[in-house]
Symmetry: C2
Amino acid sequence: MKHNFGAGPCILPAKVLDQAADAVRDFNGIGLSILEISHRTPEFEAVINETQDLVRSLLGVPADYSVLFLQGGASTQFSMLAMNFLQQGKKAAYLDSGFFSLKAIKEALFFGEVNVIASSKDKKYDYVPVGYQIPADAAYFHYCSNNTIEGTEMFSHPATAVPVICDMSSDIFSRVINVADFDLIYAGAQKNMGPAGMTLVLIKNSLLENLGDEIASMSDYRIYRDNNSMFNTPPVFSIYVAMLNLRWLKEKGGVAKQEIENIAKSTLLYQEIDRNTLFYGLSNPVDRSRMNVTFKMYDQELEAAFLDFAVSNGIVGIKGFPTAGGFRVSLYNALPISSVEVLVKSMQDFEAKLLNQKVSLENKVRV
Amino acid sequence: MKHNFGAGPCILPAKVLDQAADAVRDFNGIGLSILEISHRTPEFEAVINETQDLVRSLLGVPADYSVLFLQGGASTQFSMLAMNFLQQGKKAAYLDSGFFSLKAIKEALFFGEVNVIASSKDKKYDYVPVGYQIPADAAYFHYCSNNTIEGTEMFSHPATAVPVICDMSSDIFSRVINVADFDLIYAGAQKNMGPAGMTLVLIKNSLLENLGDEIASMSDYRIYRDNNSMFNTPPVFSIYVAMLNLRWLKEKGGVAKQEIENIAKSTLLYQEIDRNTLFYGLSNPVDRSRMNVTFKMYDQELEAAFLDFAVSNGIVGIKGFPTAGGFRVSLYNALPISSVEVLVKSMQDFEAKLLNQKVSLENKVRV
């Protein structure tokens, strides 16, 4: 058995994978695969509607918000949201808290002015900036709630009258949120929602009231809202597997229960990182992400050996992002706490092994 | 067994569906699903590279063309290509041959001027315009090679020095093409390539040489070319299934052999439409599509009964597009000729049944 700590596309529940595989062969016993039915069939309409309902009930989405399914990933949202909401003569306020928030800033600059109101770039994004002001005249305030590469997470944002837009790609459905605190939430599916190829957008309808007419259809949120996300062929399979996955989450007890589990999983791992004499955490303790745990070894030369040791215990996907180095362990919803226990035990065993080697080496020298 | 004549997402080979289902459970025996591996793994890099190679070899793509995989469908290409190639002060030449060509025109208008050089809208797009000139100063010439809704197909275009951009969503891989005749070909995957959620783009590299710097990353073809279509997370599963499907096509003998089969399938059906006293074809005989066959019944009130009769024979997906009415029968690569035979026999049986009813009614009246 593999313990899949990959950062995304990532682990999905075994039950969901079984159901998805069955539907690739025969969807609901209709004699056709989920891959070969039209999105205009009643069968698929039921899928997209159930997926929307699950999103609404799991996150408590208010009635005046639309639930949309788009393609292109969160990266497409970086430009699309600016295209829709960064009107001429306006400036958008961005928080620069990591690799992906900086990407969002770069794309917004194609469409208008950006005011970076705070940044943690000075310390390689190992903390989340605080104490900043959101200018009252900003077109919107944008931030990324979880920085996958750096391993920091923001559980709240300053109160503001400005529309709040949040990239929740890597922590949506992992903890309880108050959707009404946001005007637009977007998230690439491939962490806690489903397979790659789909992006969830929750949008307050009033935000769409005063948009211009110069936005091409596939970049216009109104088109998705007015066509139940089916202006053109949607990513049928990605939506279907997201439905299965959200059903699984609901059966498990929903987001509140999942959050308790996610706290337990991340606490277990951070405690071991702090206790173990070989490892140290990379992010500011108060900003530690529950989804992506980043750490290194004091002796960097041991990292390859630990990686091998981990692999021999069935652990995969823990290598850090190339520019960050070290390790990044992702603890998404589908990852059971038993996998974290295996990792923690591996860290302990590796420490003990090293200690024994050292002792036996010292003994040898003594003899 | 179902005979799936759906217009897309459409029938895929049973072998491909079996392999895809297996990979959803366990990809290549690595103990992980194809849905839960990172696109940055060597395993997935092998998939995307093989898919590219298959596209190159099946279509004979010249070396100076890039093979790209994007998201958003052909609809996103409608605006993206104009964003890239419709420079200020320039005009693009468009052929208006159907529902989707008109959509492409509407999206291009967000970015620049469009010259509709010919249109068949006057006759509900039941023919393909001929005898038009492509202005030498056009930024590019755009057309759609197969009109899915109307059932017409274009097998060539006038010679021109202007860059040619073609939407081949519904007939790519169905017939031999000379890629060098085009500067950019795009195609939503969900017909002859694979499941929905991915779009193939073939692009002559020289077309990308003089682009401006004002294009957002996810709309910039150069970004996809320079990052092997992995600037961000690609639609992993859609690409994987496309690879399986293109392997299947190659094993079968490739595009040339498939084209012979497609000619046989469409000829069989058109012959029956022309022979049968109940049915008539909707598109101009010389422009008939091999992929999408459109027809109606002389007595429109019989259409619901024929549809029921067809369904009772396992036939699905033949209802015409809502605005077109009648029937649309799609004969994509994965559809075996035996399915066409079942449909033709259903048309014959339905005709015979009606004739018998008529005879027995006449006998009754006589008695």
